[in-house]
Symmetry: C2
Subunit: 393 residues, 2 copies
Amino acid sequence: MDNFQFYSPTEFIFGKETENQAGEMVKKYGGTKVLIHYGSGSAVKSGLIDHVKASLEKSGIAYTELGGVQPNPRDTLIYKGIELCRKENVDFILSVGGGSCIDSSKAIALGVPYDGDFWDFYGTGKTVEKALPVGTVLTIAAAGSEGSGASVVTKEEGSFKRDVGSDLLRPRFSILNPELTCSLPAYQTACGATDIMAHIFERYFTNTQEVEVTDRLCEALLMTMIKETPRVIADPGNYEARANIMWAGTVAHNDIVGVGRSQDWNSHKIEHELSALYDCAHGAGLAVIMPSWMEFVYKHDIMRFAQMAVRVWGCEMNFVNPELTAIEGIQCFRNFLSCIGMPVNFEQLGAKEEDIPKLVDKLGLGDGKTGGFVELSSDDVTEIFRIAAHTAL
Amino acid sequence: MDNFQFYSPTEFIFGKETENQAGEMVKKYGGTKVLIHYGSGSAVKSGLIDHVKASLEKSGIAYTELGGVQPNPRDTLIYKGIELCRKENVDFILSVGGGSCIDSSKAIALGVPYDGDFWDFYGTGKTVEKALPVGTVLTIAAAGSEGSGASVVTKEEGSFKRDVGSDLLRPRFSILNPELTCSLPAYQTACGATDIMAHIFERYFTNTQEVEVTDRLCEALLMTMIKETPRVIADPGNYEARANIMWAGTVAHNDIVGVGRSQDWNSHKIEHELSALYDCAHGAGLAVIMPSWMEFVYKHDIMRFAQMAVRVWGCEMNFVNPELTAIEGIQCFRNFLSCIGMPVNFEQLGAKEEDIPKLVDKLGLGDGKTGGFVELSSDDVTEIFRIAAHTAL
């Protein structure tokens, strides 16, 4: 096991009707003037924003608001948010939505006290030294941003999707009410589930030896997703299944199951180019890329893939030919994704094989490689895209 | 799943030589004058206290010290610590040791700013409103106190063992270096492992339905302990196995695997009377009590015990008679404890059957019951002690 630091100070408030605690939580964490940041309408139409406003008013907290966050959140709205916060002396960002909304909120939070362009921090490794506090009311179990210090946003000009990470961006509190996810359409639900599973796999495929505890925790979360996801696809209003998925989504990404081990994240990196170019859902892009990535890399550690097949998917170990077990596990994953309604190849996603050179070019590896479970060159990424383009189910 | 709040703000620094970061961590969390609190000598003899002092000096942090914490930490030393801290204007407690040392440190931390007797908070539910910050350098994987807000101490006069819990008692940071546990004798190692497993089982046996995610996470930690504990008993210096156990011990008790579900804790309550009366190791007492408790209660939910047997211990499900599977799982647990050198009955522990009435009386249930997975009356506890007294292996 590698040395590590783990710090997850976010206070989680989980369960039914917990959105009504938004006001007291903002107060507890020192907010006096809030920006309510939200998405494209469902949070308004469902009455959630009204509940949140009522809760803030009850606690005597002033607020202003900015809606309109889109999936793959844009820099353009973030600039507006930063300007608004400065003008209105906002000292707390309350994000009401899913991962895109939270990531947009974090970008605003670091942008407000910064003299230059907030984009300076994205994809550059520049250290965040100050940020407004952020709280969240989560409406989609997926990104894990409610418990992480990460933010991923898209620069409209040129469609660059880049990320930043800092403990200062960890939400002070996150309110998780599974009821709020019960109205989510099946497709978005499945995209969220895929993202959660991908967050676990990015940690699971490691070159660090002897990480039994985090291996087992990752497997526990994956088995939970495998059990609960088909239940909510079949029965969207199932609170219990929604609740299990929601907590799994948070634990999957606050890194408690990923510490002490090298991680991969190349499927995420590669996928970002798909969602930046086609504006597809991140989870859908991952459903296409991740099994293709697995097919490309599994020979690097056949026994680890066999372990996934046996422990997570319940395959029988082929002791004569473990490679067959490894391959079976990957196929189980792809079949599962297809069953929950995810695309698993370029055609289903709406991506085009002729765009592959452009996608690879955008990734910007040049003659270099991107590190991870297996280091990937531009040629390797091209091959992964090709597998994704040619996958038939 | 039940509604819940989860908050675990402790910063964990994990890995080799991390004790040398003690000074910078105290500084980061605002300490200027530290009480180094430790145990009965091994932390001194091993040179660990010297390393910690050197680290504090390097960061320009002043300190005073108080050794002598015993297992089942005593109120008498805590009073001394409180007095010392007040006299020396200590503003940070640095606990270098295992669970007893950390629990003693937490008691001092809440006692220093409190006008009355620190014991007022123990076993009474009185709310902690202020406490000095605590940091830890952990030397035994067991109690989980390094990541929890709980403290259990013993009042010498009358041998009362009582607990308190508060988010204010959560350590600001905990330094976990598995190397420090490599010199631990087999018996203490096994006691620690038993305590960790008990912390998981206390959460696992629940009446809350539909808690797949926390069930799976609990099972993940148990399987880790089942794999790694015999390794360190056979090979005490095995860093990797020690590391897996150490992180499992922390995750087992910061409650991330126990949220959203009713928990039990009666085995802990019952065991506290054993260690208070006989001054035995807490883990040893648990090894005697917990399987006996399981035998007494398993009929309350045979399928949950069968689930444990199948998922954790790898038993085959007996679909004709699930009760046999449930019983097999309990027997697997007891066999495991015996294999790692734990006592599993009164005689092996040094407890006496004739003391049972005294033990039950001390628990103080009277005509009442203690709530949990199964509510227990004094008669029920008597029966559990009798099972423990008569267990043969």
